[in-house]
Amino acid sequence: MTHIKTLVLRAPGTNCDEETAFAFQQAGAVTSLVHISQLIGRKSRLDDYQILVIPGGFTYGDDLGAGLVLANEIRLKLGRDIEDFIASGRLIMGICNGFQVLVKTGILPGPMTNLPGLTLTSNDSGRFECRWVHLGANQKSRCVFTRGIERLYLPVAHGEGKLVADAEVLARLDAALHYTDEQGNRQAGYPHNPNGSAADIAGICDATGRIFALMPHPERHIQPCQHPGWTRGQSGNGDGRKIFENAVEWIKSL
């Protein structure tokens, strides 16, 4: 069997790289933590991998806006490599800061050359907040990462997760994940929607369904004892696990 190779991108301030790699390993992938300088310096090649993931963190301190400086660097220095990677049918995932990076490069909602008309900005609360949220997966989404998923319970931990978009961009957006209440209803308000995101959007994908990003952290809930209610008998098998398995399975099926 060939290995499914996942590149976990590191940059100054990345801090969820190890648990993200662990989640992909648990799903059966082989992972490499690769620093952005290695890609720019051509010491590592994006082309050697099937999945690219930009994990959470505070890249470059989130100075000037969350994920912006890394997005700027990727767009200007790796833009062609990313376009080739996308064109060859592979998968890209962004988690939290990775979502902010993908949006600010324009990779999402894509295509990259367009001005995105979409951003992630400060939470309505004005605060960084760490809390668990209920999510509903959009059954009409083309997203390959959320296939077969209806509901998820995952933690968020961010200060700039509110999705804001121009009206026409919002209208044609493939919103793969929504914030909901415990029963799965949208429009439940704060704190169910923890940041005031437009249309309760928690995650989006591009038109191909192969580029996916979300604010919540699926890599922080792949084992039962990570569930905050596990001492109350509420744990499952780690809701986030399925997302990583979907990615690996999809590559395998090619």
Partner: protein, 948 residues
């Protein structure tokens, strides 16, 4: 020069502005209706319009959410006041480095510097005085910031430094000049005499940097001279307080799993035979008093570097934070001049710790916040970090002559010069003016890059020893590292933030985010290349020698030549007198007030109330290891006891982390304060399903003043308790820290903090599946009270809520307590307990309420069943007694017999049951219902005070 002002588009809420409106209303100015916050950037460059537009559109203003405009401040409409706030010259702008990088990425290379500022547009009817109050209390901290007047922000040129070797005359000066020198460098008379003798033998005067080195190395902060002094106490002589109490306990217990104690930057214990964990808690009190955000963030930065500098470097895996502040509702007329209001200190400290810790990707899992008016001028900020490393790398390494001294991380500036001596001194109103250089703003991303790179270098074996550059800067780091060998350092090779630093400033600078490594010459190239690949600056600044001398050079000139033996062993020991007169407090005599109101009041007290507002703003999930989180229960908002994490994701082994602190008992007797803190921290570990098998303790003393006999006597009492308790519980101390001068002087009055001992604990649990949370789980559950209750309300939250102190402080009988805890952990390991909570502040009443509302269930409890160690004739005393070594446990009815057999040698009783009624019902000793209240009402009282 270009000025760019960025503002939010109209339809978007300005959360920062709204937060300020609330803060301004809190100042009593309700006429302010709106505040807009705008980001201002000053670019030192001459850019063409296209370049400027590119920078603004790509980096400074988000096209979806923000507008920008160029040029000077636009005039505001009447009724809107504009205030622009910028950093002072010399304060490193935290955003500048990243902004410069991003501009370069855009292909624009002509920008020389970038400064940021904030512009506040305040709408409302305000007088000049009111506007000034808003600026002083909320917008500007003069230590680091100023209001921009008409003239634009300046980019100052730093003057070049021209070398001149400075000597300090010790050999020919008279007595008054000697006193002056002693005061300038912070030496005692004895110390300066020893130094004079040393240089007299050499036949020369010391250089300034030699005296600075001695001052740093001999400071209280670095050498803990009080703890090592000879103390005369109650007719006995204590030869080294630390060795004869705290360290002695560890030596007597002689646990094989203690790998490194009291010798490295943190204590280290064995985790699972393959991995080791280390733990260190630091205080960063004085800087946080002056500039809360910067002080607290550099506090967390410093303790994380301690962990990176333990053994051959550990990975930071968890943070703890314990703060002590003045009350947030302190009236302004009670605030001493030049002191920041507790509310502002709390917000600043919280933000500093969260911003730094979150950016490093370290979960903040455990902590506490305490309030007392005496902390107003001297807030306490304890930052702790746990690290993980391979067991075989747990011990400090050894360098050999010829190995290189490598300085890695941030550049060196004038930051924090004399921070160590500042930390050891008393604060006054003038401190805020004198201490500008003692505070800096940290840069967490530089530190994160250091962590990432050091762990790789460690794996490749590229260095043989490491330590952090903390208090005392290079002077302390290199001086200690080379104590056994000797070293030559070339100070002109140290990379600087700006020109103009003298050799002495370079040597003692406390710039953050720096580590010192000893690297064999053959690995140097690979090590430097690795640092370079991660964007971390690393420089060879010297080499270790075999001559046991500290030699410093600036270019071709030798500026320091000291024998290591004198530097580290030449300090004359202090001799100190200690007394402890028992304070005379009386037990109050009062009629029991309404019991529901009393419970609501204690739940809503600053010390007991929910700290969710703070906890939520820390990332407690990063790294994916959290098993028992700081907020637990049905709605993830109940107060967890200890935290549990799994540091190794594919293992079920866990670490339990807890904090115990009870300064209010110290007002009555510091011995029982220390004993109670130890009992409390261990209760928390037992309550979450842990055991005492492998638990290590840390001590952190923050004292008002330990140089006066009464203060020192209190310290001796507390240390004796540490020994007495630790030896019985079987829990060794592995590390500690002290901050012994926390007094504030104004108008001739000295305000001293309450003597405060923080005990932190770390325990290993074999299987995290044993973990228990404190929330009630199911109606019908049997509620057991374990441990016996006495009329111990001295220093209790109940007394405090009524304005009393009292004299019956809770005591600890450690032998009984140990047996009780061992029995309870036997029961939890057999999964007989489904909820457990320790009884601490507010006693039984608070613990019951918390378990009920955290579980979304009710409870019915009978006080006549509570096991008493002495007759207590009042229900309120039973409900609010703070006797130690007590727990509440919920047990399923089917486990009743087995549980009771295991607990049979312990004082315990089933005092009630969990109900589905949403009511807490308590029946008094006479059998009548004395309290019936909805748990939602209790929860609201508990959540409201800090729901900011």
């Amino acid at each position: 020069m270009h000025r760019v002002e960025v503002c939010l588009k109209e339809q978007l809420p300005d959360a920062r502005g709204q937060g300020l409106v609330r803060d301004i209303h809190d100042l009593g100015m309700n006429t302010v209706s709106d505040v807009c916050v705008r980001d201002v950037y000053w670019l030192d460059a001459e850019l063409n319009p296209d370049e400027l537009k590119l920078i603004c559109r790509s980096l400074l203003a988000n096209p979806v959410t923000q507008h920008y405009r160029l040029g000077p401040e636009a005039k505001t409409e009447p009724g809107i006041y504009s205030v622009e706030v910028a950093y002072n010259a010399g304060v490193a702008d935290p955003v500048e480095e990243t902004a410069m990088k991003a501009v370069l990425d855009l292909g624009v290379d002509s920008v020389r510097a970038i400064k940021t500022a904030k512009r506040y547009l305040i709408s409302g009817q305000l007088g000049k005085d009111q506007l000034e109050t808003i600026c002083n209390r909320l917008l500007v901290n003069p230590i680091i910031q100023h209001v921009v007047a008409e003239e634009p922000v300046v980019f100052p040129e730093n003057p070049r430094y021209s070398f001149k070797l400075e000597h300090i005359d010790l050999l020919t000066v008279d007595q008054s000049q000697r006193c002056q020198i002693a005061q300038q460098f912070g030496f005692s008379t004895d110390e300066l005499q020893a130094i004079t003798g040393y240089f007299k033998n050499l036949g020369r005067n010391p250089t300034d940097v030699e005296l600075e080195t001695l001052a740093q190395t001999w400071s209280e902060h670095c050498v803990h001279k009080t703890f090592k002094s000879k103390i005369y106490f109650n007719g006995t002589v204590i030869d080294n307080l630390l060795r004869s109490t705290i360290v002695k306990a560890t030596e007597e217990l002689d646990k094989p799993w203690c790998l490194s104690v009291f010798e490295d930057n943190a204590g280290v214990i064995d985790f699972d035979g393959q991995w080791a964990v280390c733990f260190k808690v630091e205080t960063h009190n004085h800087p946080s008093a002056i500039e809360p955000y910067g002080g607290a963030s550099t506090g967390i930065g410093g303790v994380v570097r301690d962990i990176m500098g333990t053994g051959l470097s550990a990975k930071p895996i968890a943070n703890t934070d314990v703060f002590c502040f003045g009350p947030p509702d302190l009236p302004y007329d009670r605030l001493p001049p030049a002191v920041l209001h507790p509310r502002r200190i709390l917000k600043g400290v919280r933000a500093g710790v969260a911003d730094y810790g979150n950016r490093l990707g370290i979960p903040t899992l455990n902590g506490a916040i305490l309030f007392d008016e005496r902390y107003t001028a001297n807030p306490l900020v304890y930052c702790g970090t746990v690290g993980l490393m391979p067991k075989k790398l747990a011990l400090p390494g050894k360098q050999k002559p010829g190995d290189l001294v490598v300085l890695a991380g941030g550049r060196t500036g004038r930051d924090g010069i004399h921070g160590v001596t500042f930390a050891s001194e008393q604060l006054t109103g003038e401190s805020t003016e004198l201490s500008c250089t003692s505070v800096q703003i940290g840069n967490p991303i530089v530190e994160k890059k250091l962590i990432d790179t050091l762990l790789q270098a460690r794996e490749r074996g590229l260095f043989v020893r490491i330590t952090d550059c903390g208090g005392g800067g290079l002077s302390s780091a290199v001086g200690e590292m080379a104590a056994e060998t000797g070293v030559r350092v070339y100070l002109d090779r140290v990379p600087l933030k700006y020109a103009g630093l003298s050799y002495a400033e370079i040597w003692i600078s406390e710039s953050q985010e720096r580590m010192v490594l000893a690297a064999p010459a053959e690995h140097a190239d690979e090590l430097l290349a690795l640092f370079d690949s991660e964007g971390v600056e690393a420089t060879i600044i010297g080499e270790f020698t075999g001559d046991k001398r500290l030699k410093l050079f600036y270019k071709d000139d030798q500026v320091c030549d000291l024998e290591m033996d004198f530097l580290h062993h030449g300090r004359p020991r202090l001799e100190m007198a200690a007394v402890w007169p028992k304070p005379q407090h009386l037990e109050p005599d009062f009629k029991p007030p309404d019991i529901i109101q009393s419970l609501l009041k204690v739940l809503g007290s600053w010390n007991v109330c929910s700290k969710e507002w703070v906890i939520r703003q820390y990332d407690h999930e990063v790294q994916g290891g959290s098993v028992l989180k700081p907020l637990v229960g049905k709605e993830n908002d109940g107060p967890g006891d200890a935290a549990i994490i799994r540091p190794v994701l594919d293992s079920t082994r866990g670490l339990v982390i807890a904090s115990g602190i009870n300064p209010k008992y110290g007002d009555i007797d510091p011995y029982w304060m220390a004993a109670s803190a130890i009992d409390e921290v261990l209760r928390q570990i037992i309550a979450v399903g842990g055991d005492l098998e492998r638990v290590a303790l840390l001590d952190n003393f923050s004292w008002g003043n330990a140089s006066r006999p009464e203060g020192l006597g209190a310290l001796v009492r507390a240390c004796q308790a540490c020994y007495d308790m630790a030896t019985v519980y079987g829990t060794p101390f592995i590390s500690g820290k002290d901050s012994l001068n926390n007094e504030f002087e104004f108008e001739g009055n000295i305000i001293s903090i309450p003597h405060t001992l923080l005990i932190s604990a770390i325990g290993v649990t074999e299987d995290v599946a044993r973990a228990i949370s404190m929330d009630f789980k199911q109606s019908g559950g049997l509620i057991y009270l374990i441990g016996s209750t006495q009329k111990e309300l001295g220093g209790s939250e109940y007394y405090r809520s009524l304005g009393f102190t009292g004299s019956r402080v809770p005591v600890v009988e450690p032998h009984q307590a140990k047996e009780l805890m061992d029995n309870l952990s036997r029961a939890t390991s057999r999964k007989l307990v489904r909820a457990c909570h320790d009884l601490s502040e507010g006693g039984l009443g608070v613990a019951l309420a918390e378990m009920a509302f955290a579980g979304g269930l009710g409870a019915r409890v009978y006080l006549d069943r509570v096991p008493l160690a002495e007759p207590i004739d009042r229900d309120d005393f039973i409900l609010f007694s703070e006797s130690n070594s007590r727990f509440l446990a919920e047990v399923a009815p089917e486990h009743r017999d087995e549980f009771e057999i295991i607990m049979s040698k312990t004082a315990f009783a089933q005092i009630g049951e969990v109900t589905s009624s949403d009511m807490l019902d308590i029946y008094g000793q006479k059998g009548d219902r004395i309290l019936s209240v909805a748990t939602s009402q209790l929860k609201e009282a508990w959540q409201k005070p800090l729901d900011w």
